[in-house]
Structures are given as C-alpha cells and as structure tokens.
C-alpha cells in the first residue's frame, strides 16, 4: 500500500506539534541541602513585593546616612526572624499580604520624599514591616527540602537585597544620583500600591 504524501506530511506535522508539548527535563531535582537553599534564596528574589521592600530598606538607610545605613540592615534580619519564627510555628498573622504591600508603599514614599525621622522611629518602622516579611517566608520553611538550608538561603538573599539597596543608595552623594534614588523610591511605592490593590482583589 502506498502512503499518500499528504498523509505523511500530516503525520509529521502532528509529531512536530507533539514535541512542542514536551515538558522540560531537569537533570537536578533540587533535593536536600541544595534544593532547600535554592528555594530559600529565590523566595525573596522572585517575590517582587519582598524584593522592592528589601531594596527600599537599603536605599532609605543610605539616604539617612550613618548610623542608619548599617543599623537598619543589621536590625531587619533579626526582627524578620521573629516574624519567621511565628510563621514556622504556625501562629497566624492577619493581613500579611497587606503588611508586605504597605511596607513597599511606606518605605518607597520615605525614600521618594527623603523623610529623615530619628533613628529610633526609622528602626521601629522597618522592624514592624520586617515581622510581616518574615512571617510570609517562615510559612514556607517547614515544607522545604532542607529547612536549615532554606533559612540560610532566605536570610542570605534578604541581606544581599539590602546590600543592593545600599549600593544604589550611595548615589545620593551626587545631585543627579540623589534624584535617581528618589525616583527608585517612587517606583517602589507604586509597586506597593499595585500589590495592595491586588490583595484587595481590585486588580488581577
């Protein structure tokens, strides 16, 4: 029996389309320490609401100058850990998503308007929001492939995001750089408003 050219073309096309549906093959299944570290490290980075707030802490610290430039990034992980502890233990914290979004708004606006409260007030603002961020991360920790490696990755990523904010914030030494940093604050606040609207169900 001869196969018609049209039918073989149709079969080849169907086979080619089937290949498009193939899923990715993972050589590394991310288990154990590596898996836990990876998931912990990527959690704050892939969560845009966390990412912008962490960078804002660094930016604000740089604007406030010494000693805030190092007190805020040192205090934040310590307080965040208490929020994380509550999340790991399973203590519910109301309006976590609203709190995380509000942190981006408040910290972003503080940077945009170059607000310079006392170190105590700035520390309390940052600490209060750190609880929400920590809780959101902590909820994921018990399910990680390796909880300790998850914690190491998540704390390391948070610290590096602070450092990123500080490095960008060092631009305040130049007039144009100071304006750029304030613009970054405005963008961060706008992103915070988006997440606040999303948590209220106003946007998708």
């Amino acid at each position: 029996m001869l196969i018609k050219p049209q039918s073989s073309l149709a079969a080849a096309t169907a086979a080619a389309l089937t290949l498009l549906a193939a899923g990715p093959a993972f050589a590394h299944t991310e288990t154990g320490v590596a898996g836990g570290f990876t998931s912990g490290f990527l959690h704050p980075i892939f969560g845009l609401d966390h990412l912008v707030a962490m960078v804002a802490v660094g930016l604000w610290g740089a604007q406030l100058g010494r000693p805030a430039i190092y007190v805020l990034p040192i205090a934040f992980p310590a307080v965040m850990a208490f929020g994380g502890f509550l999340g790991v233990v399973g203590v519910p914290l109301p309006l976590v998503e609203v709190g995380v979004a509000a942190s981006a708004i408040i910290l972003g606006l503080s940077v945009a308007f170059v607000m310079k409260p006392s170190l105590t007030v700035a520390g309390l603002i940052v600490a209060a929001f750190a609880i929400f961020h920590g809780h959101a991360h902590g909820m994921e920790l018990p399910d990680a492939a390796n909880p300790l490696a998850y914690g190491v990755g998540f704390v390391l990523a948070t610290g590096l995001l602070h450092l990123t904010g500080i490095l960008i914030g060092l631009l305040v030494a130049f007039p144009a750089g100071a304006r750029a940093v304030r613009a970054c604050g405005a963008v961060i606040a706008a992103i915070g408003f988006y997440f606040l609207a999303a948590s209220a169900g106003l946007v998708a």
């Binding site: 320490v33 190092y70 990034p73 040192i74 205090a75 992980p77 310590a78 965040m80 850990a81 208490f82 994380g84 502890f85 509550l86 999340g87 790991v88 233990v89 399973g90 902590g138 920790l141 018990p142 909880p147 300790l148 490696a149 914690g151 190491v152 998540f154 704390v155 390391l156 610290g159």
Partner: protein
C-alpha cells in the same frame, strides 16, 4: 669458551628485580586504609551547615575582639575533643541538639552587637559549644570507626575553620572599618537563621 665476569651492579640489579614482583599496591589516597576515619572526622562537620555556621560565627567573634577572644582558639578544639569522647561514653543526650541550635542565636547576637566580653567568658563559651558540637559529631561514629582517628579529624577541621575565619576577620576589619559592619551584619544573619530554626523544634509542633 670464555666467560665474562658479571659486574657487581648487574648482579645487584638481577637480585632486586625479582623482589619488585612482590610489591603490593600503592594507595595514593589514604581513605582506602584505616586512616580514612581521620577524613571521616574532618568531613562530617565540614559538610553540615548546623556545624559550619556556628563555627564560622566563633571565628567572626574572635576576629572582632582578637585580644579577648584568643582563648577561644585554645578552648574550642579541646571542647570538640571532649565532646567527641563524651559521645562514645553517653550517646543518649538528646538535648545537645538544642544547645547547638542555641549556638546560632547566641553567637550571632554576640557578633551582631560586637559587645566586648571578658576573655574568661569567651573561653568558657567556646569550651561549652565545642563540647556540644563535638558530641553531635561523635555520634556519627559507629562500631567500625576508629575514634582515635575520627576525633583528631574533627578537632583539626574545627580548629582550622575557626582560625581561618578569625584571622580573615581580624585582618580585614583592621584595614577597613566598613568590614567590621559587614561582619556584624553577618552576625545578625546567623542570629536570624537560628531564630527561624528554633521554630522547627518539636516542642512547638507537639
């Protein structure tokens, strides 16, 4: 027929050649011999975050206050050795894991605060934490493990990790004052990891 005399060196070579036939295998890596237990002792803490992070914190603490902290360089390895031996004598002390977890929080807080502490306090702290971490490592030994090789391995790596971290911290923070802030930030990270891990303790989860 004339015979030629054999030289002494040729005769010696002829005698040595058969001896070479009896030579055994040469092991380039001593892990194939009983000495491998020394490496077991080194690798066990080296591949565990629950040991490496607090040991690194001890190094940071010494580096921040080298004069007061140098006693830790002496007492920590002694504590590790004592703890490893204790694990052989009394292997059922479950609370030691909680002490190791607490060492994240305690050492992280001391580094973050950079609070000056008396040499005796630092020395005693390193001895106590050396015992608890040595104990946990000692539990990894089984009946086939030679403790007289495993223990020096664990002590050696503990001493080297703390010494290198302390030396690097002291050298860098002496040269750049900003490095001292970075070290303190690392302390707050270690503290945070400890508090997070405290939440995983069975006491909170029934």
């Amino acid at each position: 027929m004339t015979t030629r005399p054999i030289s002494r060196s040729a005769a010696l070579g002829g005698l040595c050649a058969p001896i070479l036939l009896y030579s055994g295998a040469a092991n380039a890596h001593l892990v194939n011999t009983r000495f491998g237990n020394f490496y077991d002792g080194m690798l066990h803490p080296l591949t565990a975050l629950e040991h490496m992070i607090p040991w690194l914190a001890i190094g940071l603490l010494i580096g921040l206050q080298p004069r007061a902290g140098r006693w830790m360089l002496l007492t920590f390895p002694i504590g590790l050795a004592l703890g490893t031996i204790l694990a052989m004598l009394a292997p059922g002390l479950g609370f030691v894991t909680a002490i190791n977890l607490g060492s994240f929080i305690l050492l992280g807080a001391f580094v973050a605060l950079a609070a000056p502490l008396p040499p005796a306090v630092l020395g005693a702290l390193a001895l106590a934490l050396g015992i608890s971490h040595g104990y946990s490592n000692g539990l990894a030994m089984n009946a086939a493990t030679n403790p007289w090789l495993f223990t020096p391995g664990a002590v050696t790596v503990g001493y080297l990790v703390v010494l290198m971290a302390a030396a690097a911290t002291a050298a860098v923070s002496r040269k750049w004052s900003a490095a001292r802030i970075v070290v303190r930030a690392a302390g707050s990270w270690i503290f945070a990891i400890g508090v997070l891990m405290l939440g995983t303790s069975p006491i909170w989860h029934g």
